[in-house]
C-alpha cells in the first residue's frame, strides 16, 4: 500500500535515520520562528476588528478604562434610530443588482473569449480589465455631465458605474472557470438530443456554478462596499450603509453607533463567504467532472 503524505505534514522518521539525514532533523528554532510569525500575522489581521466587537456592546467607555465601563445596547438603538435598517436594505439591493447584472455579462464575455472566437481578443480583454486601472472618482467626475444631460436617474447611473467596476472581477473569475471547463460535455448532451436551452440549464450552468457563485460574490462586494460612486452620483440622496458609517465616523463621540453599523456591514458578506465555501462542497460533481481537464488551464502548467 502506498502511503500518501499530504504536503506540509511533518514526517517523523526513525531515530536511526535522523542523525544521518539533516533534512529530516527536527528544528526547534525554525518551529518557534514559524509560530511567532504566524501569531504576529494573526494579531495583524484580527486586531483592527476588536474595537468593533467591544464598542458595539458598550454604552459607556470612559477614556482611561481598558474595558467598557458600562455594557449595553445603546449603540444598536442609536443605529436603528439613525435609519440603519433602510440603509442596510439599500446596500443589500445595490449589491444584489450589481451582482445580477455583472455576473451574467462577465460569464458571457468570458465564455466567448475562452472559445477564441472574438475579434481582437487582447484588446477586448484589456478593455474589460481596464476599469481596475481607473480610479472610480475619475469615471464619476467625467460622466456626471453626460448622465445629467441624458437625464439618467441617479440610481441607474450608480448601477452602470458599479457594474463596470465589477466586470473585471466577474470576467477574470469566469475565465478561470471556463479554462477548466470541458465543452465535450455540452457537445455530448447535444448529440444525445438535448435542446440548446436544456444544455444551458442542465449541463453548462451546473458545471460552472461554483465559478458563477464566486463571480457573483465579488460583484456583490463591489456594490455593497461602494462609497465614492454613491456619494458623487447619488448626490447624497441614496443613503447606503457605507454613507451612514462615513457620516458618523467623521464626527466625534459616535463610537458605539459606528461600531454597530460597521459590524452590520461586515456580517452579510462574511455569511456569503462562508456559504460560498459550503456551496463548493455541496456540489462535488462539478469538481469531479472538471477535475481531469483542469491541467489544461494555463495556471496549472508552469
Amino acid at each position: 500500500m502506498v502511503m500518501m503524505i499530504p504536503y506540509g505534514e511533518r514526517v517523523t522518521p526513525d531515530d536511526r535515520t535522523v542523525s544521518s539525514r539533516p533534512l529530516m532533523r527536527p528544528r526547534p528554532a525554525s518551529r518557534t520562528l514559524r509560530i511567532v510569525i504566524a501569531s504576529l500575522l494573526a494579531v495583524w489581521f484580527a486586531l483592527p476588528l476588536v474595537p468593533l466587537a467591544l464598542w458595539s456592546i458598550a454604552n459607556r467607555w470612559s477614556a482611561p478604562a481598558v474595558l467598557p465601563t458600562e455594557w449595553g445596547f445603546d449603540g444598536v438603538a442609536s443605529a436603528l434610530a439613525a435609519g440603519g435598517v433602510p440603509a442596510f436594505g439599500r446596500s443589500l439591493v445595490l449589491g444584489l443588482v450589481v451582482a445580477a447584472i455583472a455576473t451574467p455579462l462577465g460569464a458571457m464575455a468570458a465564455r466567448a473569449l475562452s472559445r477564441g472566437a472574438v475579434p481582437f481578443p487582447r484588446l477586448v480583454s484589456g478593455m474589460l480589465l481596464a476599469p481596475l486601472a481607473l480610479p472610480a472618482f475619475v469615471a464619476v467626475m467625467g460622466l456626471t455631465v453626460v448622465l445629467l444631460r441624458a437625464r439618467v436617474p441617479g440610481l441607474v447611473g450608480v448601477v452602470i458605474l458599479l457594474v463596470a467596476a465589477a466586470l473585471p472581477y466577474t470576467v477574470y473569475t469566469m475565465r478561470v472557470a471556463y479554462a477548466a471547463h470541458d465543452l465535450a460535455y455540452e457537445e455530448e448532451a447535444r448529440t444525445l438530443g438535448a435542446s440548446r436551452s436544456h444544455v444551458l440549464w442542465r449541463v453548462h450552468l451546473p458545471l460552472v456554478a461554483p465559478g458563477l457563485a464566486r463571480a457573483a460574490f465579488l460583484a456583490f462586494l463591489v456594490g455593497w462596499s461602494d462609497y465614492v460612486v454613491t456619494v458623487l452620483v447619488g448626490g447624497g440622496t441614496i443613503v447606503t450603509l457605507p454613507l451612514l458609517v462615513g457620516s458618523f465616523a467623521a464626527g466625534v463621540g459616535n463610537d458605539a453607533v459606528v461600531a454597530v453599523l460597521s459590524l452590520s456591514a461586515i456580517v452579510p458578506p462574511l455569511l456569503l463567504l462562508l456559504g460560498l465555501g459550503r456551496f463548493g462542497r455541496r456540489y462535488p460533481t462539478a469538481r469531479y467532472f472538471t477535475g481531469p481537464t483542469a491541467s489544461r488551464s494555463p495556471k496549472g502548467a508552469p
Binding site: I37, F45, A109, R111, L128, V138, M141, S262
Partner: protein
Amino acid sequence: MSVALVAPSVAIAAFVVIGGIGMSFVQSVGLLPLVGEPRFSFDAYLANSDELLLGLGLSLAIATASTAFSCVIGLTAAVVITQGRTTGRIVAALSALTIPVPHLIGAATIGLLLSDAGVLPRLFGFAGTDWPDFVGGAWWVAVVLEYTWKESAFVALVVASVLASRVARYDETAALLGASRARRLRHVVIPLATPAVIVSAIIIFVYTFGSYEVAWLLGRPYPEPLPVLAFRLFDSISLTSRPEAAAVAVVTTAVSLLVVAGGMALLRRTPLWR
C-alpha cells in the same frame, strides 16, 4: 454570436473608462463649462498647481508605502499559509475574514483603534495627549495602516492560491536535492510568487492612489491627496472649480496608467511570464 456575447460588457466598460477619461479631459481643458463659451485652455491645471504638485507627491508616497508594506506582509502570510499545519490554517482564516470588509468600514475601525481616544491607547494606558498622532497626523500612519491591513490580506489570498498550485512539487524536489530552507525560499518560493506579487502590487498601487474615503476619514485637512483635492473642488460652488476637479482627475489617471504600463513591463521581464 461570440461578438454578441462580448458586446454588452465591452460597451459598459468602454463607456465608463473611455467616456470617463475623455469627458474628464474635455472638462479640464475648458471645452464644457457650466456657463459661457467653450474655450480651450490649460487654466484649470495651473489654477491649483501648488496643491496639485503637493497632492501628487503625497498620493505617490501613500500609495508606495501601502503597496510595499502590503506586499511584504502578504507574501509572508502566503508562505505561512502554504506551509499548511494549524498555524497556516489560522492565518488563512483570519486573512480571509479581512477580505470582505469594505474600505470605509476598515477606516472607521482603524480610527476606533488608533485615535487618541481609541482602544490601543486605553489598552497600553496612554493619556490622550501622550499618544502619537496616528490619525490625522503628519505621517498619515492610520491611512497607510488601513490600506496595508486590507491589501496584505488581498496579496496573501492571490499569492497563496498561486503557490498552492505550483510550489509544492518544486519545493519538495529542491528539498530532496539538499537545498536548505533559506535557499528554497530564496530560489524557489519567491521566484514562483513574483508574477502574482507584481500583479497585486499594480492593483493595490492604482487603488490606493485613487481612493478617497480612507484618506478623507483618517487623514488631515492639509495637504490633501489628489482624490480628496478633486472631491473638494468638485463639490465647491465656484464656477471654475469643476474644470479644476477634472484636471486633478486627469493627472490622477495619467499617473495610474503610467504605473500600470510600468508594472506590465516589469511583469514581462519575469522569467515565468508565459
